[in-house]
């Protein structure tokens, strides 16, 4: 089912932005880490729904499997054993995957028109048929999410099950989550839900419980409830204040048009020089 320009908020390598005439509900996924048991059902459902199967790997002395995100693994659980309070062990388990940034760095970095699209509902989706495999999205992403497939050299990541959401269903991971650590709905509702969870956590002694919805990328459509909101890095190095790298912003920001302009100016300068100053000719008969 085609989502036309009216449903698209941003499109990679497209200088004229789509009209985004429609205003559908902004969706969001909320990951409540305090409810997550790290069962990996979301990983299984993701593989199953999206018809992905990663390699059967090995155990390297930890629970994390597959070891990392890949073209076949769009979400993975990251396990961290920490003692925030002396003598009180906590096993923090974070579901890693695309955060669906409001200001998506991948989309900004992508040179191929339409390879990365942000729908008006907030989902950032890769369209592999337009992907050229340059890997620029990797540089744009502040969360280290996209992966280039070894098979077809195209970039892959969580689609937030855009095919399910398009027909009014929740994403596969959300549906399967046994404990309700994953919930899905309008972004507004998710923030409200998170507030309730945070109040509950505070009552249970997590004074710094907080919502992770980083403003450095304009907020995200995948948010976390963190027991230790002041230390997101406890959760397998979740960045504390993520933003698109200034290098990428520079490169894909002012630089692009300025440099293009520079090239154009150089050509024009030559042309005008030629027609004003004229060619440099030497008299053949010139002798000593």
């Amino acid at each position: 089912m085609a989502l036309q320009s009216l449903d698209i908020k941003a499109r990679s390598a497209t200088t004229t932005q789509p009209p985004s005439a429609r205003n559908p509900v902004h969706v969001a996924k909320l990951i409540d880490i305090s409810k997550c048991i790290g069962c990996k059902a979301c990983q299984a459902a993701c593989m199953e729904w999206n018809d992905l199967r990663d390699e059967v790997g090995t155990n390297v002395g930890i629970y994390d499997n597959p070891r990392d995100l890949s073209d076949q693994s769009w979400t993975v659980m990251r396990f961290s054993e920490v003692e925030v309070e002396q003598g009180r062990l906590e096993w923090l388990i974070r579901k890693d995957g695309c955060m669906h940034c409001e200001d998506p760095g991948c989309l900004k970095a992508c040179p191929s028109p339409g390879a990365i699209v942000q729908y008006a509902n907030g989902i950032v989706d890769f369209h592999e048929e337009h992907c050229i495999g340059c890997g620029y999205c990797l540089t744009g992403c502040p969360f280290n999410i996209p992966r280039i497939s070894k098979k077809d050299s195209k970039a892959y990541k969580c689609t937030l099950c855009s095919d399910r959401v398009a027909v009014g269903l929740e994403p596969a991971c959300i549906k399967t989550c046994p404990t309700g650590a994953l919930v899905f709905g309008s972004k507004e509702d998710m923030i409200h839900h998170a507030e309730g969870r945070i109040a509950d956590l505070k009552e249970r002694g997590y004074a710094k419980a907080a919502l992770y919805n980083p403003q450095g990328v304009g907020g995200t459509h995948v948010m976390y409830v963190l027991q230790h909101g002041d230390q997101p890095e406890l959760y397998a190095n979740l960045p504390k204040d993520p933003s698109i790298s200034p290098l990428v912003s520079l490169w894909k920001g002012v630089t692009k048009p300025l440099m293009s302009l520079g090239i154009g100016l150089a050509v024009f300068a030559g042309l005008f020089h030629y027609v004003t100053a004229g060619p440099k000719e030497v008299e053949e008969e010139e002798t000593d």
Partner: protein, 811 residues
């Protein structure tokens, strides 16, 4: 489960001990997170490992594997000595006031009547004082030193916090914190649920661990109430159903039992089981035993079962002893078993001490495997390198491997842990030439029957007369079978109060077990399932999930046994006057106007018995009340006592340091040759414990690509301290050895497995997940039951997988 999955949301406190619900039952565990989120419930996890359940708990306390009775005994002591019990409940609904025989005694870990040679008890002293009226003598003042309350108080006074801490390795403050949280639920409007599983079952004293848990719940008044109960989280999708149907050595359907050799007389057989009430006015529902039994025999042998031949009583095999799995493998090892059929069961992987099981299987003449998957057992004769190093040429067993269907390819019902019989529908044809289990069983049986018909042979009557009224005899349909176990009227069933009233017409399906008769006019293959397929249709297939009371009862979803009741003993949720202890979670209440009990559940009670009549809630017991004192029901004693695992890291039982007889369970059965297979702490100093991981299901999902990806390779878990001592780093390959063999696996070094201080020494634990083997799409691995000891619980003979001794070294 006394309660059911959704009911967990009604609790105030969840105790997960002897189980790991978050990992093994994630979707059921959802209701724990719901209780936390919506009732501000707290979750306590007591476990040797910091599990994924612990990861979302409010409080975690470590414990040494196998010491749970000490812990719970300590909780009982705390509750009794701090007087944090539900007084009205225990006084009225339990045996607190019952007087126990004067001869009953307990001396340094051993109860009266012990025979050390036989390793069993003469239980004649383990009983109540019976008055002249035939009823138990009681002392409502609870002052008599022989009353259950006083005996129990004295028994558990030895389980002091210091003793608990010393035996369990649980820090004393952690233990006391758990006690405090638990004690809060002694309030009438507070409740705790206990969720346990194989972490309690798989010990040589597993049944008593569960019993101790139940005693804690009774003291707090938490049995029979919404959000309470003792909830066994069964491991497989239908072991509840198969147990209900009596597929265990000594059982008949509906927890009726097969006779022993001595029970030659049918009448005595029934009378022994149809107990008369032990207190006035009590129901003692088993008095109806004969109705269940006769109806069962009518279902099996139809017209051949008559009053004259005692309903074919003699056609049933009689037991000279139990033939549980361990006993059968022992016999097999001795060459006494020739044939074995494994229907969806993989004993090479699931039974303890692989070397013994493998050797036993090799002594069989024939082995029949019926399974959807290529199991290890089906290839026990095949050389699979280091993982199964056998010589096929030396194994003379004929093996048949018959492909069966899986869930997706069949219709039928399964019973979940909450006792719900749920129907499911076929979605696809089986692969290749695979056939359904019913077709396969019929295929084998009909051939045998034909042979007996043709050639005769040993006692052919039960075979030739077995009811087989199937429209397609070689493929009995699930619908026919379901109707058969649900039961039907063979003649008109009339109202006993008014014989002219026909309740069920001849030929119709029955509505429930109250309609069963002992005159041969009803047929019912499993009395507790009676009514699951009535004239109203297949009630197991019901899909109305409405929940009018908002406490998750959904009475019109599927069918729960017994009688579609969702919470067992629910009469106990009301005070003696019939008022709910907590109206906001009302299960049932006495409606004086209507003259009956009613509410959000089906009453587990005589529906029209008014509170004044004094009938008590535990209607299956002749006493009418719940028992703290188990009388003669348990093998090792009426009160649970802490015994060490058969393989213990300690030299003595700290409770009985001077009595070697009381070191480990004195009533646990050990086969003669197996004593030498137990290891000692000098060579095997660490506590080994096996368990499941959430990514896998038993030995099945190693055949499943998605799950193989999620957890690909065999590993063991050790604490940082042991790792340091042994120079093991995460990711190293290690060899874990027990006296019975070894496995090699990757080491996961973790803070989650702690070193414990037990009786003045450091005890390390080695955690061994079970899911790998030499068949499957996951990385091949060793069968973990290579390590485990060949000994079971004294009552159930469930093997001791949770606590044994190992050593570990870097490979």
């Amino acid at each position: 489960m006394t309660n059911h999955w959704v009911d967990i949301k009604n609790t105030d406190l969840v105790l997960i001990m002897g189980g790991n619900a978050a990992e093994a039952h994630p979707c059921g565990f959802k209701w724990v997170t719901e209780a936390k989120a919506h009732r501000k419930a707290r979750l306590i996890v007591v476990d040797p490992r910091f599990t994924r359940s612990a990861a979302v708990s409010d409080y975690y306390a470590p414990i040494r594997a196998g010491s749970d009775i000490a812990f719970l005994g300590g909780v009982i002591n705390y509750l009794l000595s701090h007087d944090r019990i539900h007084h009205e409940y225990v006084k009225n609904y339990t045996d607190f006031s019952f007087l126990v025989k004067d001869e009953f005694a307990f001396n340094d870990g051993i109860y009266s009547g012990y025979n050390p040679e036989k390793r069993s008890y003469d239980k004649s002293t383990w009983g109540y004082q019976i008055g002249k009226d035939g009823y138990v003598v009681t002392d409502p003042t609870l002052q008599n030193p022989r009353c259950v309350y006083q005996l129990m108080k004295a028994h558990y006074s030895r389980y002091t916090p210091d003793m608990v801490s010393s035996i369990c390795g649980t820090p004393k403050d952690a233990f006391l914190k758990v006690c405090e949280l638990i004690a809060e639920t002694s309030a009438a409007n507070k409740t705790m649920t206990i969720l346990y599983a194989l972490g309690w079952t798989q010990h040589s004293q597993g049944s008593q661990m569960i019993r101790t848990g139940a005693m804690v719940q009774l003291l707090l008044g938490n049995i029979g109430v919404a959000g309470g109960g003792m909830n066994a989280l069964r491991g497989h999708s239908n072991i509840q159903g198969l147990t209900d149907l009596g597929l265990l050595s000594n059982l008949l359907p509906g927890y009726m039992t097969l006779p022993g050799d001595a029970e030659q007389d049918y009448k005595t057989y029934v009378e022994k089981r149809a107990s008369k009430p032990l207190r006035p006015g009590q129901m003692s529902y088993w008095q109806n035993y004969n109705k269940f039994f006769v109806s069962n025999m009518k279902a099996w042998w139809g017209d051949a079962a008559t009053a004259q031949n005692n309903w074919c009583y003699d056609w049933l095999p009689k037991l000279d002893k139990g033939y549980d799995l361990l006993q059968v493998f022992e016999n097999m090892n001795q060459g006494k078993v020739n044939g074995y059929i494994c229907q969806g069961f993989n004993p090479l992987a699931s039974a303890p001490c692989k070397v013994k099981v493998s050797g036993s299987l090799a002594k069989l003449k024939f082995l029949v495997i019926v399974d959807p998957l290529a199991t290890e057992t089906s290839e026990f004769w095949q050389n699979h390198g280091e993982y199964n190093d056998v010589d096929p040429a030396k194994i003379q067993t004929e093996v048949f491997r018959l492909p069966s269907t899986c869930f997706a390819e069949e219709d039928g019902s399964l019973v979940n842990s909450g006792r719900w019989l749920q129907w499911h529908w076929k979605a696809a044809e089986p692969p290749g030439d695979a056939k359904g289990d019913q077709e396969i069983m019929a295929g084998i049986f009909l051939k045998i029957r034909d042979l007996y018909k043709k050639d005769g042979g040993a006692f052919p009557d039960p075979i030739l007369n077995l009811t087989w009224k199937h429209k397609q005899p070689d493929a009995p349909s699930p619908e026919e079978l379901a109707k058969e176990f649900s039961g039907k009227a063979l003649g008109d069933v009339t109202d006993p109060k008014d014989k002219t009233q026909v309740l069920v017409k001849a030929g119709d399906q029955l509505n429930g077990f109250p309609e069963l008769r002992d005159d041969g006019s009803t047929s019912c293959g499993c009395w507790i399932f009676a009514g699951s397929w009535s004239e109203k249709g297949n009630l197991m297939a019901r899909r109305d999930n409405s929940d009018p009371f908002g406490i998750g009862q959904t009475l019109n979803w599927a069918y729960a046994w017994p009688a579609n009741r969702r919470v067992l003993y629910n009469r106990a949720s009301c005070d003696p006057a019939g008022k709910p202890y907590d109206p906001s979670r009302m299960l049932i209440a006495w409606n004086a106007e209507a003259g009956k009990w009613g509410g959000s559940d089906i009453p587990d009670f005589k529906p029209d018995s008014p509170p004044e009549d004094g009938m008590n809630p535990f209607i299956m017991n002749p006493e009418g009340v719940a028992r703290f004192f188990a009388i003669d029901k348990m093998a090792e004693g009426p009160f649970p006592e802490h015994y060490e695992p058969m393989e213990s890291p300690l030299a003595v039982n700290p409770m009985h340091p001077k009595n070697d007889k009381a070191k480990s369970n004195p009533a646990a059965r050990v086969f003669k040759d197996d004593w030498s297979s137990f290891g000692t702490p000098d060579r095997f100093p660490y506590v080994g414990t096996t368990y499941r991981l959430t990514e896998h299901f038993h030995y099945w999902t190693k055949h499943v690509r998605i799950n193989a990806i999620l957890q690909p390779e065999q590993f063991v878990e050790i604490g940082e301290e042991l790792a340091k001592e042994k120079g093991i780093k995460a990711g190293d390959h290690v060899r874990v050895k027990s006296k019975r063999g070894f496995i090699v696996a990757v080491a996961v070094v973790t803070k989650r497995v702690r070193t414990l201080d037990v009786a003045g020494k450091k005890v390390h634990t080695v955690g061994v997940p079970i899911h790998w083997g030499f068949m499957g799409v996951a990385k091949n691995g060793y069968i973990t039951n290579t390590l485990t000891p060949f000994v079971g619980d004294a009552n159930t003979q469930t093997p001791e997988f949770k606590a044994f001794l190992v050593n570990i070294e870097k490979v």
